[in-house]
Amino acid sequence: MTDDATPAPTPVPLSELRVVIVDDHAMFRAGVRHEIGGRCLVVGEGEDVDSAVAVIVEQKPDVVLLDVHLPGGGGAEVIKQVQPQCPDVKFLALSVSDAAQDVIGVIRAGARGYVTKSISSDELLEGMARVAAGDAVFSPRLAGFVLDAFSGAVDVASIDEELDKISAREREVLKLIARGYSYREVAKELFISIKTVETHVSSVLRKLQLSNRHQLTKWATDRHLI
């Protein structure tokens, strides 16, 4: 397995997880708050880019549930504005959008995962906990988007040639996730540990987030890969 240079953040118990919900529909925010409010701490809500950035910077939550479409530039814009100030805040994209470009865009900006709004509250809580612990959350649909992007079938303007640097093993893992396997099942299928599955997934995420050749080169140089 690859090196674990970054120390794993100490897991926060679910009941103490501080969450900010960002969505432009008040009904949806109320619904999510109702569903998860009893089992974690919802510390704030945002309805557009400005209000979201303000509340996140003020509250410094563990996880932000972030809508992809937001007035003022979309979810990606929120991440861009928050990250320099609060690098520890983790974002989980939550959207009804089926457009690969939007989802990939918010992942590239730095979101750690993507779930659809039809997700059950149990799955959502599990996803939040996983994101808070530093892991990535790949729904089958996100895995599909990513595979599509890597195969060049999706024309995402911002995607460049770094994307074909996904390894065969990572591809295999993504494919199993797209087929509806859980991480545990992926691990069993490929005869590897769950930790390794997580490493592959995180590495795919990182590759997606490297936005240009320069960054990729720097990333590789920093790790003495070249």
């Binding site: 479409h69 530039g73 979309g74 959008s97 939007d102 039809s118 649909r141 079938a153 087929r179 509806g180």
Partner: protein, 415 residues
């Protein structure tokens, strides 16, 4: 009720439109190449060669530039377009600019040609410079003909000057007129004598100014009217679209739900079906002609309509539907129906991947499962039919199932 994009035959020919991206000058060559189905470079070379013959290529290019409408870009689903308009999606990357090298090379060629004309004495020196100035004026005015690029915040001074509306378009018009007037007066002056130049210039200047002053209110009104009419038409179209769609699907479903409010299963089924349809309308990819993707989507929503299950479809890549792909889709439909009928799982995952050399589809449920060895041969009907169908088309079907853990069917054909 499902008016989802069906698999249809690919249109024979791309309509003639100037390309919006990847263009070097105005996208004429690219549009033409796409329309004729030939290589862009070939079209460009043709234009350049034709330009050698008294500028025929350049003329043809100019004519096509003016006459061929600009491509509107890919048609986005209603919901995504709306989100873009309301600034809820990050702006797309800036359009590709022509390479600096191309611009410099073009400029050098033009300068060289001018030099050739002047030094070769093809055109009398007295007429040459005024003709160039007049020509620049004409170009400045004709720049207006090109439809304006969508207003974007990130536009340089040049873009604003050549494409901007309002004051810029007036400036362009006046500037162009002045240049044309200057050229004409110069020609006149050389004919009548240089000493007359100030007088001629002054006279044409006054004439132009008078024309502008007289025509300005009319021009202004005309512009305002066109803009208003455009905006109104767009709004009306959008409203009509929305109303038609809401009426056809959403309102009817809501009515059905009200009537069957005491039957939760039906209500859930109707709602699910409507959600899927609305989502496709709002966010779905535009149906690519004859695509595996749209056919699978239609199939999954059909199953969702008939059984109380969610079918999660993930599709990577796409393929045109021919006989073999058709068979694959039918087999997938049977596998999904089977899972919906027998597994008891609330959700079925369908994953399709079209690669260059093969198509794979996985249908997975987390339902009851079964022991493949223990199934009596008589009960293998549907599964056998899936296998037989795939065999006929040179594909394969593999079924993995464990009691209590669910079933996964893998269907595969090579292309």
């Amino acid at each position: 009720m499902t008016n989802l994009p069906a698999a249809q035959d690919a249109p024979a020919r791309v309509p003639l439109r100037r390309a919006g991206s990847g263009k070097v000058i105005a996208g004429v060559a690219q549009g033409l190449a796409a329309h004729l189905g030939i290589n862009v470079t070939l079209v460009r070379v043709c234009f350049v060669i034709a330009a050698m013959f008294s500028g025929a290529g350049a003329l043809a290019y100019g004519a096509l530039w003016v006459l061929v409408p600009r491509s509107q870009g890919s048609d986005e689903p209603a919901g995504l377009a709306a989100a873009t308009r309301r600034g809820m999606r990050p702006a797309a990357a800036a359009p590709v600019k022509p390479d600096d090298g191309v611009v410099i090379a073009g400029g050098l060629v033009v300068v060289g040609l001018l030099w050739l004309f002047v030094s070769g004495g093809v055109v009398p020196t007295g007429l040459f410079w005024p003709a160039v100035i007049g020509g620049l004026g004409v170009i400045t005015i004709w720049l207006q003909v090109d439809e304006r690029v969508a207003p974007e915040e990130r536009r340089g001074a040049w873009q604003r000057l050549t494409r901007g509306g309002g004051a810029m378009s007036v400036l362009r018009l006046v500037g162009g007129l002045v240049l044309v007037g200057l050229g004409i007066s110069w020609i006149l002056a050389t004919q009548i004598g240089l000493s007359q130049l100030p007088g001629v210039l002054g006279a044409s200047g006054v004439l132009l100014a008078g024309l502008v002053v007289v025509a300005a209110p009319w021009l202004y009104q005309q512009r305002a009217r066109v803009r208003r009419a455009d905006a109104e038409r767009l709004r009306a179209e959008a409203r009509a679209d929305m109303a038609a769609h809401l009426h056809d699907s959403v309102l009817q479903t809501l009515a059905l739900i009200q009537r069957q409010a005491n039957d939760p299963a039906t209500v859930a089924q109707l709602a699910r079906r409507q959600e899927r349809e609305l989502r496709t309308w709002l966010y779905g990819e535009t149906a690519r002609a004859a695509s595996l993707r749209s056919a699978l989507r239609e199939m999954t929503s059909d199953v969702e309509g008939r059984f109380p299950v969610d079918v999660e479809l993930v599709c990577v890549g796409d393929a045109t539907v021919d006989d073999r792909v058709e068979a694959l889709i039918m087999a997938t439909g049977e596998a999904v129906t089977n899972a919906a009928k027998h597994s008891g799982a609330p959700r079925i995952d369908v994953y399709a991947e079209a690669e260059d050399d093969r198509i794979e589809i996985f249908v997975r449920d987390r339902g009851a499962g079964f022991d493949p060895d223990a199934v009596p041969s008589g009960r293998m009907g549907v599964r056998e039919s899936i296998k037989a169908r795939m065999d006929r088309y040179g594909g394969s079907a593999t079924i993995r199932s464990t009691p209590g853990e669910g079933t996964e069917v893998k269907l595969e054909i090579s292309r």
